[in-house]
Subunit: 205 residues, 2 copies
């Protein structure tokens, strides 16, 4: 693109580095910001810089937090004997939004993916093992993506954790609620038949 201004070109280049943002979208966003009040743009710019410089990670579950211990880990109302292992903050938010879980979390910070050069040492596995040495923990729930990377991570963690006297479970996989059978992909449908559950059990819960 032929930019009429170096400042504009720089800002567009920075925006275009964001995931899923191309040159055209970046230009649209930058021109939108140019039309805003200076104070609004300053607020936008400051919020990002402040976030990156002041953000902390909870010392217990490693979730993003404003304090050394996050709200969930600090809450006495939560069940600290159940730990839900997730990939990142987004998953914590997604599970919190269901209002179905009252335990605590452990944020791995990624999934094992040899293709991307991410091994177990890049994830927060040791800190999870440390937490399990506390007698309080009774159950670990793996809430990881149903992908090759998620399955590899579960397989690895299961091997590392099976020596502990705790229940290890994964979230249920199958057809989605409200999903029509004809649109479900073959793998999910096939697996949901082989992993079928007794009728009363599945609906009464």
């Amino acid at each position: 693109m032929n930019f009429s201004s170096k400042l504009l070109e720089d800002a567009v280049a920075e925006f275009a580095k964001l995931p899923g943002v191309g040159q055209k979208t970046a230009l649209r966003l930058v021109l939108h910001l140019l039309n805003q009040d200076k104070s609004d743009v300053e607020k936008f710019s400051a919020s990002i810089s402040k976030l990156r410089n002041e953000i902390q990670f909870c010392e217990v579950c490693l979730n993003i937090s404003d304090h050394t211990i996050c709200q969930i880990c600090a809450s006495p109302k939560r069940d600290h004997s159940v730990i839900c292992v997730v990939e990142d903050t987004r998953d914590v938010m997604a599970i919190e939004n269901t209002n179905q879980y009252n335990g605590v979390y452990h944020v791995l910070g990624g999934l094992i993916s040899p293709m991307d050069g991410i091994g177990p040492s890049d994830l927060q596995v040791d800190s999870l093992v440390e937490r399990l040495k506390n007698d309080e923990v009774k159950e670990i729930i793996f809430a990881l993506s149903a992908t090759m990377e998620g399955d590899t991570t579960i397989f690895y963690l299961h091997k590392r954790l099976k020596s502990f006297d705790i229940t290890i479970s994964t979230i249920a996989r199958g057809i989605a609620f409200g999903g029509e059978l004809e649109y479900v992909d073959e793998i999910t449908l096939g697996r949901s038949i082989t992993t079928r559950v007794p009728y009363t059990n599945s609906l009464s819960k």
Copy 2:
């Protein structure tokens, strides 16, 4: 959404103000920035704030520029007797990318749109009239969107400018090059039949 951090929530809220960016996309972008080096995020944040504070608009054509007169207006190689009237900077860039135009521009900064409360006084019309008082200008080309707003703006500008002794033209409308007839909408196809051009003329140019 339940955010685990106020800083995160603020940054997501700022990103979600951008056009076409919802809460989920905003969160994805913010988490991406959190994973970057502090210096990179600082660069991102600074480029935006610098752009907003230091950007200038060319005194002649009102295009975004780093100087008081933009490169195009300052260039002796351009034909200053032809002015192409466009809506905004993006249109200048689009036309520059065609390498088919050697004149100069005039950026209106918008289109007349009573629905959005944008009238002629919100656009750079007076400065265009001032430019025409210079004897040098021989032709005005309207390169505005083929929408109701674009047509309204052309109608208004034509009324304002017709007293000057200059050629007033608009860019050609019709079916796009490479477009298959069966996929062209009725209005474009209908108009392209009524505004048909002599055969030799259309292909030799």
